[in-house]
């Protein structure tokens, strides 16, 4: 049984397992448990399932199966994919947008380099393409990291419009964007995470295009796969979920886009509430807003008591006590922050109820403060 809040609005953190994935996972657990490197019958069976998973993911992402590998998480796919580019070229500098996922920032911090550089974004979160082009031409830069869409504010990056030199490959973190609409094409390495599209957790996807100079930055063989013995049933379930999500996306993406538009319109009526991110060029399912004079943890907890499950980028909700670097980069208010992300089952009533709850809770908190 899946336990979900009355209105689960945190799909950008994790979607419940897609029904298509659940069926495949059960069947694959019975058949895909053996070591796929072995020549015996159970091993060959596991190998077959793994090859099927790779082929299905490749078809979904419009790449070749040989270019696809599985990792233990989306974070691991980011670390391997990005650091594998600089490990192979010997140029360790990484130019990145200021709103990349923390997995990218952690990879940079772990491999410090004088040529690392963050490129700023505008108020909507879109990267400055000219500044990025200049930064990518600095000596020592070996890769550029630009996400497809932002996990907090939804803004899409113009990856296909990037102007970077031929020897500086583009790493694209597509974790928030896969399954949500057409992906940019101008990248050499892509990383994604199955649980973001309704696959099982513990399945990252790493794609290294043929001809890319890339090598494993960590111990082990020089393959895009993290392990020669991946979680075969989970990989196959992840592939099934992505196929199902893409098959539904012609219906879900516009519906979710409209749900977020509806929320944006309703929340725009709340005094001193700031909507963050690009209202149009964005992921279909994500909305972030900040409420002046309101503590993020208090707002999130009050929403949870009313049955609305949401995330927050405010410092008081973070383990680090630092506010979200994404909110800081776009110059948004960082306190009183809520991220809403709709899933495949979210309805207008969920969004309307959330907006009413936010309106009431924010008014209550402010009147208590005498503001």
């Amino acid at each position: 049984m899946t336990i979900i809040s009355a209105s689960y609005l945190d799909a950008a953190s994790a979607e419940p397992l897609h029904p298509a994935a659940r069926d495949v996972l059960e069947a694959a657990l019975a058949r895909g448990w053996a070591d796929p490197r072995r020549r015996h019958a159970p091993g060959r069976d596991a190998r077959l399932l793994l090859d099927n998973a790779r082929a299905a993911i490749a078809e979904c992402l419009e790449v070749d199966p040989e270019e696809v590998g599985f990792t233990a998480s989306g974070t691991s796919a980011v670390h391997r994919g990005l650091l594998g580019l600089t490990a192979s070229s010997g140029r360790g500098g990484i130019v990145h947008t200021a709103v990349e996922h923390s997995a990218v920032l952690h990879a940079l911090a772990w491999r410090e380099h004088d040529a690392h550089a963050a490129v700023g974004v505008d108020r909507t979160g879109r990267v400055d393409v000219e500044a990025l082009a200049a930064a990518a031409r600095v000596d020592g830069v070996g890769a550029v990291a630009v996400q497809a869409g932002n996990q907090e504010i939804g803004t899409l990056q113009p990856v296909d419009e990037l102007d970077v030199p031929a020897g500086v490959p583009v790493f694209m973190d597509a974790a928030a964007a896969v399954g949500r609409g057409p992906l940019p094409r101008r990248w050499s390495v892509l990383a994604a995470s199955a649980r973001k599209w309704g696959g099982p957790s513990g399945v990252g996807v790493l794609v290294v295009r043929r001809g890319t100079r890339w090598r494993n930055p960590f111990p082990g063989e020089d393959a895009v796969d993290e392990s020669p013995f991946p979680d075969v049933p989970a990989a196959l379930a992840a592939a099934a979920a992505l196929q199902a999500v893409l098959a539904e996306s012609a219906e879900t993406a516009p519906r979710q886009h409209a749900l977020i538009d509806r929320a944006r319109a309703a929340l725009a009526e709340v005094p001193d509430l700031e909507l963050v991110g690009d209202p149009v060029h964005r992921l279909p399912h994500v909305l972030t807003f900040s409420c002046l004079y309101v503590a993020g943890d208090e707002l999130v907890d009050a929403l949870a008591r009313r049955g609305y499950a949401v995330a927050s980028g405010s410092a008081c909700t973070a383990s680090t006590l630092e506010p979200s670097h994404v909110l800081a980069a776009v110059g948004a208010l960082t306190h009183g922050n809520v991220r809403v992300s709709v899933g495949r089952d979210t309805e207008e009533a969920d969004v309307d109820g959330l907006c009413r709850a936010v309106t009431e809770i924010v008014a209550d908190i402010r009147s208590r403060e005498g503001l």
């Binding site: 004079y293 410092a315 008081c316 110059g331 208010l333 009183g336 403060e369």
Partner: protein, 78 residues
């Protein structure tokens, strides 16, 4: 940095209290005057400028108190 008319000591207050105190103190400062808030809260570095933008005030920047705590300065609109 310009002379400060009203300074709020919020050095030990958590987010978003420094900004709440700014909002409360605003009527006490004459137009053109300078309102300052002292805060260790790391969110204040982002939220004081954001508050200025939302409230139509001018953010002047930050300096440090004598004992090294960040202080954020606001020019109150006319």
């Amino acid at each position: 940095m310009p002379a400060v008319d009203v300074e709020l000591d919020c050095r030990d207050l958590p987010c978003p209290r420094p900004v709440i105190e700014l909002g409360r103190a605003l009527p006490r400062v004459a137009p053109g005057g300078v309102l300052a808030v002292v805060a260790r809260d790391p969110a204040a570095r982002h939220d004081v400028p954001a508050w200025c933008r939302m409230r139509g005030q001018s953010y002047l920047g930050e300096d440090l108190t004598d004992d090294g705590v960040p202080r954020y300065l606001v020019r109150v609109a006319g």
